[in-house]
Symmetry: C2
Subunit: 195 residues, 2 copies
Amino acid sequence: MTPGARRALDAASTLFYDRGIHAVGVDLIAAEAGVTKKTLYDRFGSKEQIVVEYLAARDERWQAFLAPYVEAATTPRARILAVFDASRDWAEANSAKGCSMVNAHAEVSDPAHPAYQVITGQKAWMLALFTGLARDIAPRRAAKLGRTLMLLHEGALVAHGLRIFPDAIDHARGEAAALLSDALRAASTAEEKRR
Amino acid sequence: MTPGARRALDAASTLFYDRGIHAVGVDLIAAEAGVTKKTLYDRFGSKEQIVVEYLAARDERWQAFLAPYVEAATTPRARILAVFDASRDWAEANSAKGCSMVNAHAEVSDPAHPAYQVITGQKAWMLALFTGLARDIAPRRAAKLGRTLMLLHEGALVAHGLRIFPDAIDHARGEAAALLSDALRAASTAEEKRR
DNA sequence: TTCTGAGTATACAGATCGGTATAGTGTGGG
DNA sequence: CCCACACTATACCGATCTGTATACTCAGAA
């Protein structure tokens, strides 16, 4: 990526997230990045493509941010809670308005829009992450547990973004912790029964 | 509200919800409603005002839709679960793209925007509803329980709107049911201890 | 009957939208 | 030396944006 393109994408990302996608024009992006519209269209081809790269890059940054949290945790339970820890820290610095994918989905409804797959793909990835981690705790209830964790997590992002109540992500983490304790207890009782 | 204004607001509501607020212009609203722009501006004064009334009216419709569900339930536990039942039925018919307040918040970030208070007010109302209903189950844990129910509910709306997995609202209802069983059990044990 | 309110139709203002065109600058590598 | 590349500057395109203006119709009520 050329320096101009880099600056343009950075500027677009901030503007899109803060003001919404349709509310931001290419002239503003160019001006904010110190770049001409010509450069924008030479590098990206269309505004639509800038939107796609904005979402894809943000998802990539989030995954890179998340990875060390999960890797540092030593138990299956801690790995799941680490996702909430990462979300809390990420939200503090980058996500005052909630999930960029959810927000983008509010403006990009057409499934044919190239950004649509980035959005749904990110959510599918998160669900698969929770479900995969849940498998190490309660293999037979992993699907159900993963979905519940997903609900808590998504709800927390919304609650945080709309400032419904303070420390929403920490609250969700607490509920997830209780949920995992129950699941672990249930799994071990089932284990004993089988013996 | 005059007949023309009624048609305009109905058309605007559908368009705003389906395509997003910034993506819909007043010309389109007027055309779709079979009304001239003159009528639009005579009745509403500005597009901003149409947005405000769209959100306020939708909230009002939701509350009217919800009320009989809650009233028909006979136990505190059933009243809470009735909210999820109402949400599921509402979402099927009116809410394929998730919560209109959350979606509007993605486009209207400025707290000075008159729509902002409608959005945050609706969320505050829902939190108060859950907390109030939770008080009849576990008075001392009502605040915490209300917030958890809020997280599950908001998460379910997102999961439904983005089609993360099927029957998200029913799943959330199931988790809420389990949560309430735990809370009831804990409350009755605490009651016995106090005796 | 006259007056008012709600509506139509149409045209326009000024700004901004996404996107393109032309022309020129500076820089690094073969 | 020269060429490819990244970029600047500026002007423009047609379309659309919110909002306003003029002129007219029609129904119902005082």
